[in-house]
Symmetry: C2
Subunit: 94 residues, 2 copies
DNA sequence: TGAACATATGAACAGTTGAACATATGAGAA
DNA sequence: TTCTCATATGTTCAACTGTTCATATGTTCA
């Protein structure tokens, strides 16, 4: 059980950065390459690439190659669900 | 929308620490005072009190006074829901 | 093969964070 | 009021994190 607590904390740690959340929101629109993501979140390619690696390691996004480009997309429904419930929570605060 | 992204990141930041998650799990068992929580998570009173303040500020726990003691409990259903979905996610990883 | 493009990686630096310690506040009992 | 008990707060410090810059990797096309 203790291991799972740490894993759980690590998962939420990934959701705890606004850049990563913005990337996830961008990907809700569908599969995108790194350049398009960079443009959408207005951050340089390197920063986005670093964050995409974090997101991939925690299985929140998946990737496939298309020629020179890498196409990222959301890994599963949990991502949107967690963001949605989080939004609900902050919306209901007094 | 941008403000909400920051608020959302801040919310998940609260979930991103194993001590805080353990406190939340302890509180799933019901209302508890600070001493009992400290004992349950095996951390000193000061550390727990600091974390309880963080949890309270983000509306994840609520408090009421009972004589000298402060009784903490989970604020709403979102807390358990978010932890549950997080657990589902890490359980399904390859 | 070599140039051009798309993305990844490594290092360094500033900013943030959790824990520990000491101390302060507040409530009840005497 | 004064003494405890229960909890909160302020400060310090080591560890961690996100961004930037520079560079490397990998793919396509000529």
């Amino acid at each position: 059980m203790d291991d799972r607590i740490y894993d759980l904390a690590d998962l939420f740690k990934v959701f705890s950065d606004s850049t990563r959340i913005r990337i996830l929101y961008v990907l809700m629109d569908g599969e995108k390459n790194v350049g398009d993501i960079s443009e959408a979140v207005e951050m340089n390619q390197s920063a986005v690439s670093h964050q995409l690696k974090t997101l991939k390691t925690s299985h929140l996004v998946k990737v496939r190659r298309d020629g020179k480009a890498m196409l990222y997309s959301l890994a599963d429904d949990h991502v949107e669900t967690i963001l949605k419930i989080g939004m609900e929570h902050i919306s209901e605060e007094d």
